[in-house]
């Protein structure tokens, strides 16, 4: 029985898991969970992910949430090439260091920018106040600076000469604001060069396939029924405003 991966490619961690599985030719069944349609609140999905979040994995009786846990599990089970999550203690620690830092840094800020620019205006029918936007943009820029200065420095990838889970988790978060029309790579040649390397390493076709939904988000939002977003309103307004 193949591994089942419950994914919505609008979600950044889902994209990491998707690209990881495909790049490593891991046989899996893609189970789409549409967040926009509230499918993650359904009874069936609740049995897979008690946390009710995507991505989620089911391998026989074993169910798992959290993209990092999922990718490390798949790496071990399918014996993926060492560079993804190196066995070398210090290299592995560097990957873990990035994966830990990013939860409350770039992940939060990239998401926030996407919601503030695109989703919330659609939800409440007006633009978000300027100070909120400016504050969010400043935080995002600080994180991007840290990524360039501390995590990348003058290396081709975060941990060294080869890609790792750190780069895979980083790229999807950094791509998220692009879905809302904010080009974070503009004026950042180092980051752009790294993105190109990552895209080449993963494979341009796979990278683009994974990002198709998010990059088409602005178009998609034009057609969406605002009542669909009611589901998210309380949480999002509390989180971001």
């Amino acid at each position: 029985m193949a591994v089942e991966l419950y994914l919505d490619l609008f979600s950044q961690p889902c994209r990491s898991v998707f690209m990881f599985a495909k790049k490593n030719n891991i046989p899996f069944e893609f189970k789409k969970v549409s967040l926009m349609d509230g499918e993650h609140y359904g009874d069936d999905f609740g049995k897979i992910s008690i946390i009710r979040k995507v991505p989620a994995l089911r391998d026989g009786d074993f169910c798992l949430s959290e993209s990092i846990a999922i990718m490390v599990y798949l790496a071990e089970k399918f014996q993926t090439p060492d560079f993804w999550y190196p066995a070398d203690l210090q290299q592995r620690a560097r990957v873990n260091e990035y994966l830990s830092w990013q939860h409350t840094a770039i992940r939060m800020q990239g998401s926030k920018m996407f919601w503030l620019r695109l989703m919330i205006p659609k939800m409440i029918g007006m633009e978000v106040p300027k100070e909120k936007m400016d504050g969010a943009l400043e935080d995002l820029n600080n994180s991007l600076n840290l990524i360039e200065e501390k995590f990348l420095q003058d290396r081709p990838f975060i941990v060294g000469d080869q890609m790792s889970l750190a780069d895979l988790v980083a790229i999807v978060e950094i791509m998220q604001p692009l879905g809302a029309g904010l080009d974070v790579f503009d004026g950042r040649p180092k980051l752009s060069a790294w993105r190109d390397r990552v895209r080449t390493f993963i494979g341009e076709e796979l990278f683009d396939e994974a990002h198709q939904n998010i990059l088409g988000a602005q178009e998609g939002m034009k057609q969406i029924d605002p009542s669909k977003l009611e589901l998210f309103k309380p949480k999002i307004l509390r989180l971001f405003l």
Partner: protein, 315 residues
């Protein structure tokens, strides 16, 4: 007796390594990881009574499970063994920069004390701004604790540090199990912890203790109420999604997950608030964790208790 134990360990180490296996050291022969202790027996009998299995049988089964984790798929960990033996031989201590008022710092202190990993602690007093000195900034430009320094290797982020210590040193396997499904459970909690347990518990302490202390102002009751509601929702999830009917967050044994969680949930006690007051299930979990950790738990929390006691004296 000790000579025999040492000899058998050496033989086990050599034979495991020639087959490319990583020897699991179970017991204190090398003087590093502690031997089976009271807490471990307590845990076993707890788990046994919950499963209806006689304690000695459960014990035997789990020992066999642990020993079977010596297997060739653990690539590259020969390096860990050599490193460990070298550091034991040269007496190189791992250095950590900690402030015990910080939750993740306590988790690291407790792991180091419990597992007797040779280490040296450098205290960094956040309240005195010692993390902003030029010297500390050279070590960690992000000006945060905890920091680990091992030879020339500098590492930040508590989960990376805890996992590094667990992978490098021969500590009891339950802290960060080798078996992929059990390890995944710990990774799952540790990831979830960042955006759930940690921020919501920390916020309560921030609003009740830190901000008023720093600015001399009253507690913002509205914000505190909201923060307590958020924390309540998180504790619901902690009980129903992770703990459920298990002794510990990730299963039968204490892991890094319990360590991180308990240090976070202790923090509001610095303001005299027990956030587990009305939650008997989590209280029992906390007691089990405290038992398993022994003296190292109290020692690590002494600073926090002192903060609480000083506040109570003032009021």
């Amino acid at each position: 007796m000790i000579y025999f134990q040492l000899l058998s360990t050496v033989i086990a180490t050599i034979s495991c390594r020639t087959h490319g296996y990583r020897p699991i050291q179970y017991g204190g022969a090398a003087g590093c990881a502690p031997a089976r202790n009271e807490a471990s027996t307590y845990i076993t009998s707890m788990a046994a009574s919950q499963q209806g299995e006689p304690a000695e049988q459960l014990d035997r089964r789990r020992t066999q499970q642990r020993e079977s984790y010596c297997r060739p798929s653990l690539r590259g960990f020969h390096l860990a063994d050599r490193e460990h033996l070298v550091s034991m031989a040269t007496g190189r201590l791992v250095e950590v920069y900690l402030d015990l008022l910080s939750q993740p710092c306590r988790a690291i202190q407790i792991l180091l004390s419990c597992t007797k990993i040779p280490h040296r602690v450098h205290r960094v007093a956040l309240r005195k701004g010692e993390h902003r000195t030029a010297e500390f900034s050279k070590l960690n430009p992000m000006q945060k604790v905890p920091v680990l320094v091992d030879g020339g290797f500098v590492l930040t982020e508590s989960d990376a540090i805890l996992k590094y210590l667990a992978n490098k040193y021969d500590i009891p396997e339950h802290w960060y199990p080798w078996q992929p499904e059990r390890r995944a459970r710990v990774d799952e909690y540790v990831a979830w912890h960042h955006t759930n347990t940690r921020p919501h518990a920390a916020k309560v302490f921030l609003l009740e203790v830190l901000l008023p202390a720093q600015f001399g102002a009253q507690v913002d009751q509205d914000r505190l109420e909201r923060a307590l509601l958020e924390l309540d929702a998180t504790l619901d999830k902690l009980e129903s999604m992770f703990l459920r009917r298990q002794p510990f967050l990730c299963g039968d044994d204490i892991t890094l997950a319990d360590l991180l969680a308990v240090c976070e949930l202790m923090q509001p006690l610095g303001g005299g608030r027990d956030v587990l007051k009305d939650r008997p299930q989590l209280q029992r979990w906390r007691s089990r964790v405290q038992s398993a950790l022994g003296e190292s738990f109290n020692e690590a929390h002494a600073v926090l208790f002192a903060v609480r006691d000083r506040r109570q004296a003032k009021l």
